[in-house]
Symmetry: C2
Subunit: 462 residues, 2 copies
DNA sequence: ATGGATTTGTCCGTATGTATG
DNA sequence: TCATACATACGGACAAATCCA
C-alpha cells in the first residue's frame, strides 16, 4: 500500500542502492513501517524514485539478507522485523481514536439535530443530479459562490427575512467563519476594534482575534448593546445577532434595531448582522432582518443553514453593502471558494424547488410542539424549584434550579443517568436543554429521568 | 413562491391590515415583487406573521381594489402592477449573470483540469455510499476533520511525501486558505511578520494581510530565500513552497532545505511548508517534504488536492508540530470544520482503497506525456525565437518570445484566435502555457494556431 | 465461478565508470 | 596503453500470482 518517498543524492559517493537500503532500514527501525506491512513493488518504487529495477532490487535483497524484509514470490516484499528502538516513535502506532463519551440515551446537546425531520431522499436526489453532470464537478467553481445559488438566495433571503440583496452582493462560504475571515480583511483599516455584546459568540470572537481585531465587549441592557456605551466607545464596527441573544431568550427589539441603524448611518459605521437561525421563530411574530430596514448601506448580513439543513452541510452566505462590495470585488480572485460546489448547486435546486420553504414550515411546527412539550414537562417535574426560560431561536430552554450545586455538576449527574445537558454559563445553577435534536416522544421520559437523577439534590436544598 | 417577512407593530395606532397593505405596496413599488409573481397564500402568510386570516385578506383586498394585485380564484394572489418609480431599484431586476469571455477553443489557463483523467464513476460511488448513511450526514462533523480521513491522510502523506504525522496532528479544511487563517491565529503573538519569497503566492498573502500579519518579501537567489537575508530580518515565521517555485521552474534544492531547517531549529522559528502539487513530480527525482526531514518540530506542513482530485472538491490538510498542536487543541471547539463532511468521508474511502495512489500514477504519466508533447511542439513552432522553460509542479511551460510586445498583448492576440494563455509576470515578452487542462491531442494544433496568430509579430521583430 | 488483464518477484542483457595488472 | 574485472545502474522479458468484471 505505502510507497516511500526517499531522499536520494546522485552526487554522493554512497551508491544509490545503499542509500535506499539505509532509508528503508531507518523507516523500519523508527516504526514508520509496521511489521507485516507490504512494501511498494520493485517496479513501482523504481518508477517513483526514477531508479532502475535492479537498484531497488539490490536494496531489497540486502534488506532481506539482513532480516528486515522477506520476499513472498509474486506477491511482494514485506516488513519482517519490528522497530529496533522504541525510543523515538515519531509516528506512534498505539494512537487510537479518542473513545466516545459514556452512553447517552437522551441528548439535549445544542449541537444536535433531530434527523427525522429531514427529507434525506430529496437532498440525495439533488446531490446525485449534480454529481452526474461531469462538466460541473470537473471544473472549478465561482470564487464568490455559484451564481445559481446566489440567485436562489437572493430570492429566498428576501422572502424569508426581508433581506434586499442582488446576487452580486452575495458571497458564499463554508459556514460563518470563513465569511467573517474575509469580512475582517475588508474591514481592516477603518478601525482595529469590533464591538459586540457580552457575552459574545465564541466562534466569531475567535475569528476576530485571529484577524487581529480587538474585541470590545460593550455593556448591554435588556434590548441589547447600550447605545450610549456604543457611541462613547467611538468604535466603527459592531457585531450583533439580533434574533439570537442567548442570555435573555429574546432578540433585539425593533426600536433598538432602528437606533443601531441610525448610529451606523450617522457615524459611517458598519453593522455586522449575524442572523443565525433568524428564520426559526415560531412563537413570536417574526422580525425581518435589519439589512432590509437599512437605507444607508451600512449592514453586512450573514445567514446560514445550520439548524435548517443537514448538519453535515456547511454553507453560509454574506450580503455586502456597496462600499464593501467594491473592495471585495477587487479581491475576489484572491479568495478561493470554501463551500463544496456540489452542495452549493444541490442547495440552489433545493431552494428553487421550494423545498427549503416547505422544510422551514415543517420545522417551525415541530419546534413549536417540542418547545411547549419540554416546557410543560419541566413545569410538571420541577415546577416550584425552578425558573424556566424559553430561548426561541437558539432552540433551547434555560433551566435554573434552586440548589447550591453548580451547573456543571448537574450536567455530570445527568450524564451518569444517560441524559446529556449543558451547563449555562454565567449562571450559578443553570443548565441548558437544547431541544433541536431530541425526538418529541423522548421529551417526557427524558425530563422524568432528569427529575429522578436530580431529585435528591433539588429537594434536599429546598 | 415568495412569502414576505414584514415588520408589524402591534402597539401602533395604524391597524395591522393597513401596515401589511403598506408593506406589500412598498415592496411592489420598489420592485421587490415582480409583475406576475405569486404572493403567499392568505393562510400561509397569516401563519408566518402570526396574524389571523381576515387581517391578511383585508390587506390583499385593498391591494386588489387599488390595482396592485389580482386574485385568481383557487389559485392565489398575483402581482398586477409594475414598479411605480424606477428611481430606487434596490434590487435591480435587470442584473444578469456576468457573460462569459470570448469563445476559447484551446485553454492553456492554469486553473483548468483535464477532466478526462478523472475516474468520476468511482468518486460518485463513494459519495453515494456516504450519502446513504443517514447517521453520518445527519450529524455534525468533527471540528478538526473526520477521524477516518485524518487516519487515511496520515498514511498517505507519509507514503507519498514522507510526512510524519499522526492523525491528531492533522487538521482538515476547505482548501489552503481556511487552514492558513487558523494558522495565523496560532502564530499570532510570536511575531507580527511572516517572511516569504518574492514574488509570493497571492492567495496566501491575502490571508496573511487579512490576519494582520505583515508580509515580508525577502530576496531570493536560485535556491530560494537567501539565508543571510532571513537571518538578518530576525523574522520568526517563514512561508515556503519548496517544490513549487513559479519563476525558476525548479524547487528549493535539498541543501537549502536543510539550511532552512537549521535556521528554524536554531532560532525557534516556524517553517510553513506549502506543498502545493508536491506529489506531481514526474521528470525529476522526487524530493520528500521538509516536514519529514525536520527533527525539531518546526515545520507546519500544508497539503491539498487541487490538481489531483476533482477541482470542485476543495479539501486540504495541515500538519501541526507539537507546540502549535497544543495551542490548537485548546481552541478546537472554536473552529468549525469548513470542508464538506460527505466529501471528507468519500475522500477517506478513496484514499484507503488506493484510488488516489492509482490516480497519482496515472496523472504523472499523462502530465509527463503532455509536457514533452508541448515542449516538442513549441520547439518545432518557435524554435529559434524563444526560450522555453518547463515548470514541473506548476504544470506549465514558460515561453519567452523575442519580440518587443509585452506578454499581455500576446495573450490578447492569442485569445482573439481562440487560444487562452496567460502573461508571465515580471518578464517582458513571456507567456505561461498551463498544460494541466488541455487534452493531449489538442496540444499540437493549439501550438500551431499560436504560431499562426503570433507569426507576424514574432518574425517581424526578428 | 471463471477467464483475461494486471501486477509482481525474478532473471537476464547491457552500458558506464573505476580500479587493476 | 590496453585488456580485464568489478560494482553500479538501466531497461526489458517471463511466468506465477492476483485482481476484476
Amino acid at each position: 500500500m505505502t510507497y516511500d518517498y526517499i531522499l536520494l543524492d546522485t552526487g554522493s559517493s554512497v551508491p544509490l542502492y545503499q542509500q535506499l537500503y539505509l532509508a528503508v532500514k531507518n523507516a523500519i527501525e523508527a516504526g514508520h513501517l509496521a511489521k507485516g506491512e507490504k512494501l511498494p513493488s520493485i517496479r513501482k518504487l523504481a518508477g517513483d524514485l526514477k531508479l532502475s529495477c535492479t537498484t531497488v532490487e539490490a536494496a531489497y535483497q540486502q534488506l532481506c539478507v539482513e532480516g528486515y524484509l522477506t520476499a513472498r514470490p509474486q506477491r511482494g516484499y514485506f516488513v519482517l522485523s519490528a522497530p529496533k528502538s522504541e525510543a523515538l516513535p515519531l509516528r506512534p502506532a498505539a494512537i487510537r481514536r479518542p473513545e466516545q463519551a459514556q452512553k447517552i440515551r437522551y441528548n439535549f446537546g445544542s449541537d444536535c439535530v433531530d434527523t427525522s425531520y429531514i427529507d434525506l431522499k430529496i437532498w440525495q436526489r439533488h446531490i446525485r443530479e449534480v454529481l452526474n453532470r461531469q462538466e460541473i464537478i470537473a471544473s472549478y467553481g465561482d470564487h464568490q459562490g455559484e451564481w445559481e445559488l446566489r440567485e436562489a438566495l437572493s430570492a429566498y433571503s428576501y422572502g424569508a427575512r426581508g433581506v434586499i440583496a442582488s446576487p452580486e452582493q452575495i458571497v458564499i462560504g463554508a459556514g460563518t467563519q470563513p465569511l467573517l475571515s474575509i469580512l475582517c480583511g475588508l474591514l481592516r483599516g477603518a478601525d482595529e476594534r469590533i464591538a459586540l455584546e457580552e457575552p459574545g459568540f465564541l466562534q466569531a470572537e475567535q475569528i476576530f482575534s485571529d484577524c487581529g481585531l480587538q474585541v470590545l465587549r460593550l455593556p448591554a441592557d435588556d434590548s441589547g448593546i447600550r447605545m450610549d456605551a456604543l457611541r462613547e466607545s467611538g468604535v466603527k464596527q459592531v457585531f450583533v445577532s439580533p434574533s439570537n441573544r442567548i442570555q435573555t431568550g429574546t432578540g433585539i427589539p425593533v426600536s433598538r434595531r432602528y437606533e443601531l441603524l441610525d448610529w451606523a448611518r450617522e457615524t459611517g459605521g458598519i453593522l455586522v448582522e449575524d442572523d443565525y437561525n433568524g428564520e426559526l421563530r415560531y412563537n413570536a411574530r417574526p422580525i425581518p432582518a435589519m439589512q432590509g430596514m437599512d437605507r444607508a448601506q451600512t449592514v453586512v448580513y450573514i445567514g446560514s443553514f445550520s439548524k435548517l439543513l443537514l448538519p453535515s452541510v456547511r454553507i453560509g452566505y454574506m450580503v455586502l453593502p456597496e462600499r464593501l462590495l467594491e473592495l471585495y470585488q477587487t479581491r475576489v480572485a484572491r479568495y478561493n471558494q470554501t463551500a463544496s460546489k456540489t452542495e452549493q448547486l444541490a442547495l440552489s435546486r433545493y431552494i428553487r424547488e421550494g423545498q427549503l420553504e416547505r422544510q422551514l414550515r415543517r420545522l417551525r411546527k415541530r419546534y413549536a410542539a417540542k418547545s411547549s412539550a419540554l416546557i410543560q414537562a419541566l413545569k410538571n417535574a420541577f415546577g416550584s424549584h425552578t425558573e424556566i426560560l424559553l430561548q426561541e431561536t437558539p432552540l433551547c430552554v434555560n433551566l435554573r434550579l434552586h440548589t447550591s450545586l453548580p451547573g456543571s455538576t448537574l450536567c455530570e449527574i445527568a450524564a451518569r443517568n444517560g441524559v446529556r445537558v449543558m451547563p449555562e454559563k454565567g449562571v450559578s445553577s443553570g443548565v441548558v436543554l437544547g431541544f433541536a435534536g431530541i425526538p418529541l416522544n423522548d421529551i417526557e421520559p427524558a425530563v422524568q429521568r432528569l427529575k429522578e437523577a436530580w431529585g435528591d439534590v433539588v429537594s434536599r436544598n429546598h
